[in-house]
């Protein structure tokens, strides 16, 4: 069923009793051309683009829980392409362009809202760094604009501009950035992939790999039995090390907990996404009115899917330093997701060192915004065997060869990105 104003009106008149499930909850078949492990945004987007761009529809997405129940449901929904390094910016700008056409492509309301993101700067050195980053963005076809203090004040008069320690001097604005509805992204991709014949198999955890005599991967062993596959792609954010270990692969990744928070619903107050340049705090306002915000990872290896109190305190201190007006708002909920922190802070989309296995991993803080391009590029790699031009730098061997994509300049420290 295509969604349209007409179908909505017809359903409204018949008491909304005619809606059917948006996608098929499939049973596993014996074999597929490609099996994607992980039914989050990246896995489902990969399945969608495999069928749409490459005509490969004998595809299964296997998910240990329910689709979108991992990091796709645990992020802060921000989309942006404000990166500085050549290996990153072309990829994230491609993702931004896909976001801009996503709703038409999927016929699904993913609530893409381009309200802009402003990264505040608090020193001359930081202004120079942002000017350079903005220029890099423009050279890659993205939009960027340096705002002075008055321009930021017009946009967000509630900020603490004259903070003694961190006065706000201006900001780097990307107007096309914004937010999208995370669940709708998952469901939209699932619906589009399912309509092309992709099997989405839930409650099906991968517990091993099938291998032939040469050691090549020929399928997956799951809690619902073996599934043979021509190729297997991993998109299991947060648990990449564990699944790769089943194929005897060690990755340059540590798993860490990243927390996010939402306040009680407030009237519209924050225009877009605002990030604090002197601490680590970022905030936007959801359509329901809650302030959605977050900051640093907890800082030690974790698979706990919840955070601890020191970071809650740190994030709230950052918020109070930036916008004291939020001091009276109460936190409604907080949650933690387990993220793959790579040693340079950038992702991996590449062949694994074992034949038949492909990796989509290491998204650190920034997996959600990458969802469309990640799926597009991973599908390209799986279908053609060659990396997509915008993701060619996300190689697994860059750590050995020295071609790191160290956006933050922090070195080999998974706990610093």
């Amino acid at each position: 069923m295509r969604y349209s104003l007409f179908t909505l009106a017809r359903q409204a008149l018949s008491g909304h009793k005619g809606w059917r499930p948006a996608w098929r909850d499939a049973e596993p078949a014996e074999a597929y051309d490609i099996v994607i492990v992980g039914g989050g945004g990246h896995g489902l987007a990969t399945a969608h683009y495999l069928s749409r761009n490459h005509g490969i529809t004998r595809v299964a997405v296997v998910e240990k829980g329910w689709i979108g129940g991992g990091n796709a449901g645990r992020n802060t929904t921000i989309i942006r392409s404000n990166y500085g390094l050549p290996g990153n910016e072309a990829f994230y700008e491609w993702s931004m362009k896909l976001w801009e056409g996503l709703e038409q492509e999927l016929n699904y309301n993913t609530m893409v809202s381009q309200r802009g993101i402003v990264n505040l700067y608090h020193s001359d050195a930081q202004r120079d760094a942002y000017a350079r980053r903005g220029n890099a963005m423009i050279l890659h076809g993205a939009d960027a604009e340096m705002l002075d203090r008055d321009a930021v004040r017009r946009m967000a008069p509630f900020l603490d501009f004259d903070n003694a320690r961190f006065p706000i001097m201006g900001g780097l604005l990307q107007s096309r950035a914004g937010t999208a509805r995370h669940d709708a992204v998952v469901w939209g991709y699932a619906r589009a992939a399912s309509a092309h014949g992709v099997d989405i198999i839930q409650n099906c955890e991968v517990i091993g790999f099938l291998r032939d005599n040469s050691g090549a991967i020929t399928g997956v062993e799951t809690t619902r039995g073996p599934i043979r596959a021509g190729k297997v792609g991993l998109a299991v954010a947060g648990h990449s090390s564990r699944v790769a270990a089943l194929a005897d692969i060690r990755l340059p990744i540590e798993s860490h907990a990243l927390q996010a928070f939402v306040s009680e619903g407030l009237k519209p107050t924050i225009p877009g996404v605002i990030t604090f340049g002197a601490g680590h705090f970022y905030v936007s306002q959801s359509d329901k009115g809650g302030l959605v915000f977050g900051g640093d990872i907890d800082g030690y290896n974790s698979y706990a899917q919840r955070g601890n109190l020191p970071v809650v305190e740190d994030v709230c201190e950052g918020g109070m330093a930036l916008m004291p007006m939020i001091g009276r708002a109460r936190i409604l909920r907080s949650w933690g997701g387990i993220v793959d922190m790579t040693m340079d802070g950038s992702p991996i989309i590449d062949r694994a060192p074992v034949e038949g296995l492909y990796l989509n991993a290491g998204w650190c803080y920034g997996g959600f915004k990458a969802t469309p391009a990640s799926g597009w590029c991973f599908a390209h790699l799986l279908a053609t065997g060659k990396p997509h031009e915008t993701a060619a730098a996300f190689r697994l061997d860059r750590f050995a060869s020295g071609y790191l994509i160290d956006e933050k300049g922090a070195g080999a420290q998974p706990n610093l990105h």
Binding site: R250, Y300, P310
Partner: protein, 83 residues
């Protein structure tokens, strides 16, 4: 989370600096340096890891912590762990 420092006793984790998996050993030459710098076991379960008691006795300690639930099953001075 509270960390049982062998020298100071149980203290708030905020007093410590985290340095990660204690298992990798720095090799003498270039051989194995890549593994040491970049590759990690990253287990979901007990992990031996280095913490530095920066705001206490300034000892490096080796803590065994379960990464699934942060339950700490032991802590010894790192120099003793190396013996």
């Amino acid at each position: 989370m509270r960390i049982p420092c062998p020298y100071c006793g149980e203290r708030n984790s905020g007093e410590f600096v985290y340095r990660g998996d204690a298992a990798p050993m720095r090799p003498e030459g270039a051989e194995g340096l890549f593994d040491y710098v970049y590759l990690r076991e990253n287990p979901a379960g007990p992990l031996r890891e280095h913490w530095y008691h920066a705001q206490g006795c300034r000892n490096w300690i080796e803590v065994t912590r379960d990464t699934r639930n942060h339950v700490i099953s032991g802590a010894i001075l790192a120099r003793e762990a190396r013996r």
